[in-house]
């Protein structure tokens, strides 16, 4: 199902402040930069930002959808290059993922992911290897 050079379809996920609270509870990461405007601004951030691991989890969902299975990852790595500010609005912000298939060999496909928010790249060296 994967071919080298194939560009995988864009997947968009909406992230709201409520999602950050839910993710903090589920993950155990209660760093206040993910829920306190005061703390986030106090350390020089533009405001409350999404957990990097929530962004990565959404990337994982995108990979699962492309692979057609949710249990096929063998290697998954990202660098968080820009924060994802999440405004205190109903719609929050949107995060978009695409990927290119770089290699298919020995039953494993290697994908290079691109993740953007408000047109800015938020991840670098985002790579996933999935069993196919």
């Amino acid at each position: 199902m994967f071919e080298v050079g194939q560009k995988l379809p864009v997947q968009v996920f909406q992230v709201t402040r409520a999602d950050l609270i839910r993710y903090a509870g589920a993950s155990g990461d209660f760093n206040p930069i993910h829920w306190s405007q005061r703390t986030a601004e106090g350390v020089g951030l533009p405001g409350v930002i999404a957990h990097g691991m929530l962004t990565m989890a959404l990337a994982g969902r995108a990979v699962a959808a492309w692979a057609g299975r949710s249990d096929s990852l063998v290697d998954f790595g990202v660098r968080f290059t820009r924060p994802v500010p999440v405004p205190d609005t109903e719609e929050g912000t949107a995060v978009e993922f695409t990927a290119v298939v770089k290699q298919v060999a020995d039953g494993v496909a290697k994908l290079d992911l691109t993740a953007t928010c408000q047109g800015e790249k938020i991840l670098a060296q985002a790579k996933a290897a999935v069993r196919i």
Binding site: S27, L58, A64
Partner: protein, 154 residues
Amino acid sequence: MPLDQSFVGRVYPPHPAYQVGREKIREFADAIGASDPIHHDVEAAKALGYPDVVAPATFLTIIATAANRQIVVDPGLGVDYSRVVHGDQRFTYVRPVVAGDELVVHASIEDILSRGGHDFLTSRFDIVTTAGEPVGSVWTKLVIRGESHEEGAV
């Protein structure tokens, strides 16, 4: 003040085993919007050959974050948690985590770098079952932002 390089290579004693619960997997899957039935429905997971519901790929972060807290609050290392942002993250998987797993984390500090007023702390977490079966490894790089450097890595 830069983090103490002598902490590189430090190995932390493992916590008691983490018992992976079915409801915790469902809660985590809900929090990230992962609706695949294998995360929620035991029968769907069994149809793919798993004994119970399957955790989403980044679920290991729960266990790694708990183990990382031990490092972050180590008074000798002196990390200011309010200035911490996440730099890099990587997982390698031997198999997915499933409900009923009892997981032990072997945590260590792999690297410390100080650059441009920021500190970069890379920790490694090797996850095995209580029976010694390897499940996967997790690497977390934290960036501890310098007091007077608001630009740069986030």
